[in-house]
Symmetry: C2
Subunit: 470 residues, 2 copies
C-alpha cells in the first residue's frame, strides 16, 4: 500500500503544514481522552474550511481511505480515534472555528464544527443570550462533536439534548458533496429530516461542518437548593411536585446517594456538608428565572415548603447567593473525582423511564449484592432526565483490579436490567467503538437492519468512521 499519491494530493488541497504525518505531531490525535486506547493513522489532516473538508473526503473516496472525523477528542466511547490498522486518516475539524453569525432576534447562533463549546457560549453571552448546552468538557469539546454524539449535559431537563438545540446543519457527505442546510427555522416541513440523521451518527454518515443552534434569553437569576430525602421514590415525588410548581423554570434536578457525598467528604474535606446529620438521598434543584432572584427564591421556598409539609423531604438548604449555589453544585460535580480517588470503578451511563427509576435502583442494587457481595453503588445523575450514572465501586475488602476483572459480568446484570425496564445503555455518551458490540444484544434485528440499510445507502464504501456505531 503506497499512500504517497494520496498524501501529495492532500498537501496540494489544504497546504503542507496541515497534513501531519510525523508520529510526534499525530500522537495527540490518536489516543482517547481516558487514555485507554491508542490507534494508528496515515496522517492527521486539518482543513481550514468546508470546501477543504469536501475536497479531502473526495480524495479519500478516490483512494479508498477511511476517515475518522475528530473534534475536541473528549469522547468517552472511543468514537473519535482510529483503530490500529493504520489505514485511516484522522480529519480534525479544529480549524473550522468561526462563529459565522449571531441573530439575537431569531435567537440563533451559527457556528462551525471546530468551535470550542465554551467559545460559542461566550459569543451567545456577548449578545445577551444563553446557549444552554453545558457539560464538563466544555472548555475543550467542540460543537461538531457535541452534535455528532448528541451530547446531553446539565440543562437537558429544560432545554433538551444537543439535538433539540439544533435548527440546521451544513454537512459534507460521504461522497464529498456539501449539504447546505444552515436554516434557522422553527418550522420547516419540506421533506425528510436529514438534520437529525447526521446528529448523533458519530461521524459515520458524513461530517458536520457547521450548525445553527438555538439560543435563549439570559435568565435573570439562577437559584439552587439541596434537599435531604429517604428514598429515590421520594426523589421522584419531589420531581413531580417541582415540575408542577415551576414548569420550565426548573432547569436542574440531580440525585445523589449518601455514599456519593461520603466519598466527596472523604476526598475533598474542604467542601462543606450542609446538613447536621446524614440522610440516605439528596436532590439538588436549580431554578432559572426570567423575572428576578426574589421571584426564584419565593418559588423555590414554596416547593421546598410543600415537600417538607408532605413528608417528601426531611431537611433542605436554600442557597441565598450565587456563591452558595456554586458550593452546592461543587458537591455534585466532585462525585466523579471522589470516586476516582477512592480507586478504580465500573461506570454505566444509563437512562430509564423516569417513573421506573426507584424500582430500577432497588432491584439492581439487590441483584448486584447477591452476585457481588459488598460492592458499593455510587449512584447519582440527572434524575430529571431519567439519566443515572450508576457506578459501582469494589467491596472494601477486595482489590480493585480483581473486581474490575468482572466488569463484563457486572455490565451484563446492569444492562440486562436496564433493557428489561425499557431503558438505554447509553444515555448521553453514544456507542463509538466501545458499545458497538454490546448494543447488538439489546436492539431488535429490525432496528439493526434499518441502521445498516441507512449506513450502506449513505456511505456505500464504508469509509466514514468505520467500526463505530454499527
Amino acid at each position: 500500500m503506497n499512500n504517497d499519491a494520496f498524501l501529495a494530493a492532500c498537501r496540494l488541497a489544504i497546504g503542507e503544514a496541515h497534513v501531519l504525518t510525523n508520529n510526534d505531531d499525530k500522537a495527540a490525535y490518536l489516543t482517547d481522552q481516558r487514555q485507554r486506547y491508542t490507534g494508528e493513522a496515515i496522517a492527521v489532516v486539518k482543513p481550514a474550511n468546508t470546501k477543504e473538508v469536501a475536497k479531502l473526503v473526495q480524495l479519500c473516496a478516490q483512494h479508498n481511505i477511511p476517515i475518522v472525523p475528530q473534534g475536541g477528542n473528549t469522547g468517552l466511547v472511543l468514537g473519535s480515534v482510529p483503530d490500529q490498522s493504520g489505514k485511516a486518516i484522522v480529519l480534525s475539524l479544529k480549524r473550522l472555528n468561526r462563529i459565522r453569525a449571531v441573530d439575537p432576534v431569531n435567537h440563533t447562533i451559527t457556528a462551525e464544527a471546530g468551535c470550542i463549546l465554551q467559545h460559542v457560549q461566550e459569543a451567545a453571552a456577548n449578545a445577551g443570550r444563553l446557549l444552554p448546552l453545558s457539560l464538563a468538557a466544555e472548555g475543550s469539546c467542540t460543537i461538531g462533536g457535541n452534535l455528532s454524539t448528541n451530547a446531553g449535559g446539565t440543562a437537558v431537563l429544560r432545554y433538551g439534548n444537543t439535538r433539540e438545540l439544533c435548527l440546521g446543519l451544513e454537512v459534507v457527505t460521504a461522497q464529498g458533496e456539501i449539504l447546505h442546510g444552515l436554516r434557522g427555522l422553527r418550522k420547516d416541513n419540506t421533506g425528510y429530516d436529514l438534520r437529525d440523521l447526521f446528529i448523533g451518527a458519530e461521524g459515520t454518515l458524513g461530517i458536520i461542518t457547521a450548525a445553527v443552534l438555538k439560543i435563549f434569553p439570559q435568565p435573570k437569576a439562577q437559584l439552587t437548593a439541596l434537599a435531604a430525602l429517604q428514598t429515590p421514590a421520594d426523589a421522584l415525588r419531589l420531581l413531580t411536585l417541582a415540575q408542577s410548581h415551576c414548569g420550565a423554570t426548573l432547569t436542574g434536578f440531580e440525585l445523589m446517594s449518601d455514599l456519593c457525598l461520603q466519598l466527596v467528604a472523604k476526598h475533598f474535606p474542604q467542601l462543606q456538608f450542609p446538613f447536621n446529620q446524614r440522610h440516605p438521598q439528596y436532590v439538588l434543584l436549580e431554578l432559572s428565572d426570567n423575572e428576578s432572584a426574589e421571584h426564584a427564591g419565593s418559588l423555590l421556598e414554596s416547593v421546598i415548603g410543600a415537600a417538607l409539609e408532605q413528608g417528601i423531604c426531611q431537611d433542605a438548604v436554600l442557597a441565598s447567593s450565587s456563591i452558595q449555589s456554586r458550593a452546592l453544585w461543587q458537591l455534585r460535580e466532585s462525585i466523579s473525582s471522589a470516586q476516582a480517588k477512592e480507586g478504580k470503578n465500573i461506570k454505566h451511563d444509563i437512562s430509564l423511564p423516569i417513573s421506573r427509576i426507584a424500582e430500577f435502583i432497588a432491584d439492581t442494587d439487590a441483584l448486584l449484592q447477591e452476585n457481588f457481595p459488598g460492592c458499593r453503588n455510587v449512584t447519582f445523575g440527572h434524575l430529571g432526565d431519567g439519566n443515572l450514572h450508576y457506578n459501582v465501586s469494589p467491596p472494601l475488602n477486595i482489590p480493585a483490579e480483581q473486581f474490575i476483572e468482572r466488569q463484563a459480568e457486572i455490565n451484563r446484570v446492569v444492562h440486562d436490567n436496564v433493557h428489561r425496564m425499557n431503558g438505554s445503555i447509553s444515555a448521553e455518551h453514544g456507542l463509538g467503538a466501545l458499545k458497538r458490540e454490546e448494543i447488538l444484544r439489546y436492539k431488535s434485528p429490525v432496528e439493526i437492519a434499518l441502521m445498516k440499510t441507512i449506513k450502506q445507502a449513505l456511505d456505500p464504501l464504508n469509509l466514514m468512521n468505520p467500526g463505530k456505531v454499527i
Copy 2:
C-alpha cells in the same frame, strides 16, 4: 390486472368487513379535506392492530400494490389520498385507536396512530397533564397523521412541533416488519435517529402505528392580551421583549394585520373589536403560568407596560377572564373563515428566520402590488415561530376566478422571496402531492439526492405513498 387473489388475502388477514371495495364505502377516503381532488383505489383496508398492518404491508409487497396510509384525512397538501390510477389501496389507521398507557411521573402518553388528537388531549387531561399539541382539526385529525406531517399548531413557540413532542415510535416498515421503538426516554444515544426519519415523512418510508408523546404539568392559568402596533418591525420588538420577560411562560404570539380584523368585523359582526380606533397591526400574546392567575396577570402587565412605555405598542387590552381570553382568540381564529367568506384567495404556509419577517412582508407586499396592483394581503400567523399565513385576496375590482388563474405566478413571487431569505415554502403542512414539484425548485440537488437515496433504501419497491414528498 386481477386483484382478486390480493383482496382475498386481505379479507383473510383482517376480516371481510374491513376490506371496503364498494364505491359508496370507499368514497369518504378518496377525496381530500378541501374537496379539491378525488382519487381511486382498489380498496380501503382497515386493520385493527399493528400486526394486521404488518400483514397487509407484506401482502402489498407480494402483489406490488401501492399503499396510501391515511389517518383523519385532514391534510392540506394531498398527502393522504390516492392518485387516479386506481392501483393503490388506502390503508386507514382509524381502528388503531387505543391509548396504550399514561405515565404521569414520566410525563408520557402512549397512543396508537388512529387516536383522534382530541381524545389523546383528553386522556392526558384526565391524568392531570397537558398534551400541548393543538390545531384547528384536532376533533378529527389523528396522532399518526400529526406525526407523519410533523404538525405545528398553536403551542409550537413553547413546546415545539409534533417532532419535539415525540419520544418513541412503533412503525411498520415497507417490508412489513415491526420496528418496536416505543421508548419513553429523554436521553438515548444508541445509534441512528430512526424516529425522526419517519416523523414528517408523510407515510413514504413506513407506517407509524403508535407513539410515545411528552405530556406536561397542567398550567394553573392561561392569560391573553391583544396589543395594537404600527408595524411588523414593532411586533418583532415586542416578541423579543416578551421572551426576555416571560421565558417559557410565553406560549402564544400571533400577528394579524388590520385588514385581517376588518374582514373578521365584516363577516362576523357579532365579534367585538376591542379598541376605540383601528391600528395597522395587532399581536395576540398568551401566557401559560404554573403558579397562579395573579402571577400571570402581573407578568403580562409588566410586559405590556414596558412595551407602551418604549413606544413599541400604542394600545392594549388584557383579558381579565377566560371568557375574555376566548373572545380575543376568536378574533384570531376567525380570520381564515372571514377570508373565505370574502371569496376565493391564494394561501401560503411559509416560515422565515424570525428576524427577517418585517423585511419579508414589506418587500413581498411591494413586489405583489407592482405585479398584481390592488391585490389584498391578508397576513397573519404564528410570529413567535416565524410562520406566516401569507394569504392574498383578489383586488376589489377583479373577479376572484380571474385572479386565481394567476396563482402560479403569485406563488412564484412569494416562494422565490421566501427562498431568498432562507425560509421554507411549507412550514407546517408538508409537501404531499401538492408541493412535490414546487420544492424541486428550492432544495439543492444534493439534498434532493439524499432524500431519494433514503427513499430508495427504505422503500425499494416504491410502494409507500408513492407520488408524495419525493
